[in-house]
Amino acid sequence: MRSIEFEILLTLAAEARHGYAIIQDIEKRSGGSLSVETGTLYRALQRLVESDLVRPTDAPRAALNDDERRRFYAITPAGRRAAAAEAKRLAILVDAARSARLLPPLPEGT
């Protein structure tokens, strides 16, 4: 799974969002270090939709005041499983990086 696809799934795991909201969330999460352009985002969304990991959905209640032309996307159960599997894989990698002292050890008790 490409990192942009994982980022999208991660965003949609919380709630359904439209394209621009996904971009905002990813950029906010990365603290501004990651910039996602629309071309990249929608190619990735196309792949996720084709793989049945994401599906278009109605606007959530909280977003009813949003521009009605916007299309919202939600994560599918398969998408959630795929994102979880990817997260697990990344966690193992992070542990390995810690063992190799590429990252500082976790504080005691965590």
Partner: protein, 891 residues
């Protein structure tokens, strides 16, 4: 900067819409609206956020647009053009079926492509093998030749410096010297002249080629007092010894000295260039500490990791340091440098890149002509299938699929043409090798062997790929631009005719440009070749031998000692029973070089000085067929102890002393020798022409001064042989040796042989070039006719309407001819600057006059004009013969 206005945002949105076109239609249909909204949101937010409120978000826009275009192209590549989607066996079968359905068309296009591709492959392979390919020896790309450079002169290296380089250069290994010498091989009563390379035995270790029989030269062979030995080439062994294995270890006479044959090299080996045998260069020469005695050509191997440039820089530094230690001023030393080149590069000279590029460009132009013709045929076929294409698109066939379908037909034709063309190129290369072996044996560098190899195949592959890309892109573009609705509504071939007409006009203009340039070059080449074939030296070259006589400055340091050598050689040669005459001749100045001016005593100083070729001679001028028509000839007693004299040619006499005798008049050379000295004219001789042999503007104006009244250091020796050529060569050898044992004749040229071989090469090249240009002309004529015929044929109905509305046949013909001329005009305008550049280069590099080049350009342009007008008029006449009623209903 103010906050982005609504208008600005609208412009960015439009730019974004344009960028979105990079995505395939299917993608756009699904995501375009969302993407636009997201983009607009981003721009809006960026423009209203606190820290960017007053700044235009250029970077963001640029990044967005760039990413959208890149992502769109990637999406196109990955969606509709997936390899699995693109390659369909049924498309290939369909293309084969189409080609099989029209065998005449298929055969014609394959032959045209084979001609273009074969010619390009042949030219590239031929030039690569002759000029660029590394020597066919172990690590041949690292074997180099060193020459000493002073200004524009490039020549051999002092033997002292060869030894110095061998000991000091870090970038060079196995440095050795060699020189060429003619020797007489006497064997059982039969004598033969061999061109031998007298070389440092290191030559055989540099070449890394073991002998076929026996051994190569060893360092011990060059030691003082060593037994004289010789190594033979395979060819010499074949010709002189009848491939007799017992020749090895036998003793033969080389210049009368008993010499043992110690080795026979493998067939085709001739390092460093071309010769018949190798003799050891005495180590006393390379270990000598006296500069200026012997000069040698130098071979070496580049050290691992060293480049030509590094080796040249190091060798130059070493040479300059050595020159300074030999009391050469630093200023003079700084003008000296060393050139390090591969042997093929050194053999061809500085023009290598120019010749390689120029000839390959010509061949590529012919390929371009072939491609233009085939493109014409294929687009015509594509147009005929336009309804089928539209139906496929209407049924949902992707454009990518249609492009690939169009590509396959062109690809199959190109591959078939490429295979046939490569076979033809391979045959041509083999034929050239056989021809040179028969006609130019002994004059060819040993690496000049042409046959199909990896490079031939690679170049053929490259040309075929280019051809497929060109054909495919044009034909596919045609398919992609099909307007489904228009074609489905109309349904005739006419629906694409306007676009096809535009393409046809471009193709005709391209044809005109290409063929004009090719014909221009072809005619100029033909003129040059004709001049070489009909070369007239101005005297009978039969039985004439020529050799350089250059007494070394070390052995003959004074002018008197050198003049004694000249006098002695001339006297002995004139008395030799094997010769009919001998002439020592040195050119002092050429008429157009500025140095050939002279003044006449008593003439007005204000008038411009006349000019002539100035030559120093000693011996019988009758050797070159010149007669003394008035006065007396120059003799050996005309030396510096006697009054300065001169002979003039009949042309000079007629020009300056019309109707009276010039004998007794005085002239003074203004550009050479002692320019203050008045010389008395003692005679007039018949004319012979001077200047470039292939020039039409050769001069008959000549002044001859006695060689012994000049300070020249070297001269040409020309002898007319009475009996056999070999006796003449032996006479030269004997006389040189009798004058001084260290005076050895260099390479002896037979003048008639040089002229015959030049004519032979010119004839061969003319035939080769002639066939190529004829092929190009044929392609252009056929292609232009085909294009015009088709584009006019498509206008049958239009012409019918015009005729119905009252246009006469003459008006219609005039209209079409005018349009044809317009296309010709475009082609000619594009060709004009190319002709100007090529013409200027030709007149600069070759003895061709500007008027000839301009005249050729005009004649060629007029010829092309007549071809285009003819190609327009014929189909016009055909179309106008169609009955009006039929024309109006013609689809």
């Amino acid at each position: 900067m103010t906050r982005p206005s609504r208008t600005q945002r609208q412009w960015w949105s439009r730019a974004y819409d344009v960028a979105l076109r990079a995505f395939p239609v299917e993608f756009r249909e699904r995501w375009e609206r969302d993407m636009r909204l997201a983009f607009a949101d981003r721009i809006r937010d960026r423009g209203t956020s606190d820290h960017t409120r007053d700044r235009t978000p250029w970077r963001l826009i640029a990044r967005e647009l760039g990413t959208v275009v890149a992502a769109g192209l990637r999406e196109r590549l990955h969606s509709s053009h997936r390899p699995s989607d693109m390659v369909h066996a049924q498309d290939i079968r369909y293309a084969f079926r189409l080609l099989r359905r029209s065998p005449g068309f298929t055969l014609l296009t394959v032959l045209v492509l084979a001609g273009g591709l074969g010619l390009s492959t042949f030219t590239f392979s031929f030039l690569y093998a002759g000029m660029i390919r590394p020597l066919p020896l172990g690590e041949g790309d690292r074997i180099v030749r060193l020459t000493q450079v002073e200004g524009e002169r490039q020549g051999p290296v002092d033997a002292v410096d060869v030894a110095m380089l061998e000991g000091s250069a870090r970038t060079l290994r196995e440095v050795g010297g060699y020189t060429r010498r003619e020797v007489i091989l006497g064997r059982e009563g039969e004598r033969r002249v061999l061109t031998a390379t007298v070389a440092d035995p290191t030559l055989f270790s540099v070449a890394r080629t073991p002998a076929r029989f026996g051994r190569g030269l060893l360092p011990s062979d060059a030691a003082p007092g060593a037994e004289p030995v010789i190594v033979l080439t395979y060819r010499t062994w074949q010709v002189a010894f009848g491939e007799d294995r017992s020749a090895l270890d036998t003793h033969v006479a080389i210049n009368g000295v008993s010499t043992r044959v110690v080795g026979i090299m493998p067939e085709g080996f001739g390092f460093p260039v071309a010769q018949d045998a190798w003799l050891p260069l005495p180590s006393s020469i390379t270990t000598s500490t006296k500069a200026g005695v012997e000069f040698l050509s130098v071979f070496a191997r580049l050290a691992p990791g060293a480049t030509h440039a590094q080796a040249a820089a190091e060798a130059t530094a070493l040479l300059r340091a050595a020159l300074v230690t030999r009391d050469t001023s630093e200023r003079v030393a700084s003008r000296m440098s060393m050139a390090v080149e591969s042997f093929p590069a050194a053999q061809i000279g500085e023009e290598r890149t120019l010749v390689f590029t120029f000839l390959n460009t010509l061949a590529t132009l012919i390929l371009l002509l072939a491609l233009v013709n085939v493109t014409t045929l294929l687009t015509a076929r594509a147009n005929e299938r336009i309804r089928e294409t539209a139906v496929r698109m209407a049924l949902g066939a992707s454009r990518g699929r249609l492009i690939m379908q169009g590509m396959w037909e062109g690809a199959i034709l190109c591959i078939a043409g490429g295979v046939l063309g490569t076979a033809g190129a391979a045959w041509g290369l083999e034929a050239i090798t056989s021809w040179t072996r028969v006609h130019l044996e002994g004059n060819m560098a040993f690496w000049w062997v042409w046959r199909m190899d990896r490079v031939t195949l690679l170049s053929a592959g490259a040309f075929v790929t280019v051809a497929i890309a060109v054909l495919g892109s044009v034909v596919s573009l045609r398919a992609v631009r099909t307007n489904v609705r228009e074609v489905m509504q109309d349904g005739s071939a006419r629906s694409g005719s306007r676009r096809e007409g535009r393409l046809a006009r471009v193709l005709v203009a391209t044809q005109v440009t290409v063929v004009t340039v090719l014909m221009f070059v072809g005619v100029l080449s033909g003129v040059m070749a004709r001049r070489v074939v009909t070369l007239d030296p101005g005297f009978d070259p039969a039985n004439l031998l020529q050799v350089d006589l250059a007494p070394s400055a070390e052995q003959f340091p004074t002018e008197d000692s050198r003049q004694a050598v000249f006098r002695n050689v001339a006297a002995r040669l004139s008395e030799h029973g094997a010769l009919d005459g001998a002439l020592l001749r040195t050119r002092l100045a050429t008429e157009d070089g500025g140095a050939g001016t002279f003044a006449l005593r008593g003439s007005r100083a204000a008038t411009a000085l006349p000019t002539a070729n100035v030559l120093a001679t000693l011996g019988a001028m009758s050797t070159l067929g010149m007669d003394v028509v008035e006065g007396r000839p120059l003799t050996a007693s005309d030396d510096r102890a006697h009054a300065p004299v001169a002979l003039i040619s009949r042309s000079v006499a007629a020009r300056l002393w019309r109707g009276r005798s010039p004998v007794g008049e005085q002239l003074r050379l203004a550009g050479v020798g002692d320019t203050t000295q008045w010389r008395t004219i003692v005679g007039v001789v018949s004319d012979i022409p001077y200047g470039n042999l292939i020039s039409r503007d050769r001069s008959l104006n000549a002044i001859y001064v006695p060689l012994l009244q000049t300070t020249v250091a070297e001269t040409d020796v020309i002898v007319r042989v009475r009996a056999t050529e070999i006796a003449g060569r032996q006479a030269l050898s004997e006389v040189f040796e009798a004058v001084d044992p260290m005076l050895v004749p260099g390479t002896v040229y037979r003048l008639s042989e040089s002229i015959e071989k030049s004519a032979l090469i010119a004839t061969g090249m003319t035939k080769l070039f002639g066939s190529c240009f004829l092929f190009a002309l044929l392609l252009a004529v056929a292609g232009t006719y085909g294009l015009m015929s088709r584009s006019i044929g498509l206008r049958t109905r239009e012409l019918g309407v015009r005729r119905a509305l009252g246009a006469t046949d003459a008006m219609a013909t005039r209209m079409l001819l005018t349009q044809g001329t317009r296309q010709l005009g475009v082609g000619t305008v594009v060709a004009a600057p190319i002709l100007a550049v090529v013409g200027a280069a030709a007149t600069h590099l070759l003895p061709l006059s500007g008027a000839l080049a301009a005249g050729t350009a005009i004649v060629v342009s007029l010829s092309i004009l007549s071809v285009v007008l003819g190609a327009t008029w014929l189909p016009t006449r055909k179309v106008l013969r169609v009955p009006l009623r039929d024309a109006l209903w013609r689809d």
